[in-house]
Each structure stands twice: as structure tokens, then as C-alpha cells.
Symmetry: C2
């Protein structure tokens, strides 16, 4: 897992880290700028995966943390109004996590920045190359994302 200074070519996994982390940082900066400065990085990693109605277990699995940790983070997100929990009509055990009012505003900001950063990357790579990258990452996802 270590890369010596003499290492010329990092492994593909690490190579993926740079864009991932760069995007994340850009979004977090934009959120702080927009006044959403109470959301933490760990919280955002769960929040990012909240859909129309997500189960805690799924959020945990996708964010690669335990369900206890995910529960802890959702508690915070809920207290801050970013998400809300509603009972799952299909399963009395479960509660569905969905966006709260404040959360929708966050998504709007995030989407904007994401599109902006993608444009920057596209300019750097070239349009067809960017499309290729997206396609290849999509293919790679098939064997690296256990969840869908």
C-alpha cells in the first residue's frame, strides 16, 4: 500500500483517489461558502448517498461504515435538518432516510459545483477523453461497487 518517493506510477486505486478527493474538497468548500458550514466530511459521505428513501443499512454499506456509525451520522444530519426519517411503509422495522428541506438546498449547491468541476476536468482532458474516462470508470464500477 505504500508508494515510495521513487514510485513513478501509483496503483490504479490511488490514482482514483486524487479526483475523488479533489471533487469532495471542492464540494465541501462550496457548501461552507454557501453557509452549510456545520456539515462535516463524514456526514457528507453518508448524506451523498441519501436518495428518495434510503435504509440505514444501505447507506452504511455504501459509505463503507458500520450501521452504528451511519446511524450516528444520520442523527447529526437529522438534527441539522439535512435529512429526515420516515417510517418504511413496507417494513415496520425500517425507517427511510430522505432529504429534508435544508438537504435539498445542499443538493442544489452540490450539483452545481460538481457540474462545474466536471467541466474543468473535461477542458483539461478533452471532451472525448473525458467521455472515455467516464465510460471506463463505469465499467470498473461493475467489479468495485458491491451495491448496484
Amino acid at each position: 500500500m505504500a508508494e515510495g518517493t521513487s514510485e513513478q506510477q501509483p496503483n490504479l486505486g490511488l490514482l482514483c483517489f486524487f479526483p475523488y478527493r479533489a471533487m469532495e474538497a471542492r464540494v465541501m468548500d462550496a457548501l461552507a461558502e454557501a453557509g452549510f458550514d456545520d456539515i462535516t466530511l463524514a456526514q457528507s459521505r453518508v448524506f451523498q448517498r441519501v436518495g428518495d428513501g434510503s435504509r440505514l443499512t444501505d447507506l452504511a454499506a455504501q459509505a463503507r461504515v458500520t450501521k452504528q456509525t451511519a446511524g450516528f451520522l444520520v442523527d447529526r444530519l437529522e438534527a441539522a435538518g439535512y435529512v429526515e426519517r420516515v417510517p418504511d411503509p413496507a417494513d415496520a422495522r425500517a425507517r427511510l432516510v430522505r432529504l429534508g428541506e435544508r438537504g435539498q438546498a445542499v443538493v442544489a449547491v452540490a450539483r452545481t459545483v460538481e457540474a462545474q468541476v466536471e467541466q474543468e476536468w473535461e477542458r483539461h482532458l478533452g471532451r472525448p477523453e473525458a467521455a472515455t474516462l467516464r465510460r471506463l470508470l463505469g465499467t470498473l464500477r461493475e467489479v468495485t461497487d458491491p451495491f448496484r
Copy 2:
């Protein structure tokens, strides 16, 4: 930053998350398997960047944590024998972090698994496609990695 369930195409940053995290998980599993079960994920993220002699500040910047946090993690790594700190001959303020004996064994294991996973990915993508992916990620790194 959020991806609804209806979202078909995640942004490029998130798309990079899957391989990154998958590789990380595979390496961590292999390390635990090999008896290095006391190294934590956070520690590994700093350890991974230790070269022949790395400054704490650089490690912190690359791992995207504060220098205090990096210092804390290096303390643990050092106590476990994974790294050691030596004075920097060129700067009396600094100490260089380098691999300890145990750390070299870890690197050996990590490298092996990394190569193995990369082969798997290459099989899935196809050899020329994998090369393209590597090239594009390398290009993207130019604008997403502030450190080299």
C-alpha cells in the same frame, strides 16, 4: 453532492470512489490476513505515503489531514514499528518519517495485493482499456493533485 436513487450517472468524483475504496479494502483485508491487524484505515492512509524520508507536513498535505492528525497517526505507526523517525540532516526543525522493519514487510504484502487487484481489473476492462484508464487518470491527476 447527493445522488438520488434515480441518478443514473454519478459524477466523476464519486465514480472514482468505487475503485479507490475497493482497492483500499482489498489491501486492508490482505494486511489483516497477513497478521498486520493492528494498523487502522486512517493510519494506512498516511503510511501509504511514506517514502524514503517524508516530512510530516507533506504526509499531512497528501493525506488531506492536519499536521496534528498526521502526527498522531505517525505516533501510532511508529509505536507499532511500521515507521521510524530520523532527524532531517538538511533541516534541524524537521524529522523524516521512513519505513521501519515491520513497515517494509507491510509494503511487500500491499504491493502484491495491489498488483493482483490491478490484474483483475485489467481482465475486466481489457488490457488496452486499462492502459487508457491509467493514462487518463494520470492526466487528471495534473489538476487534482496539488502535490506533484
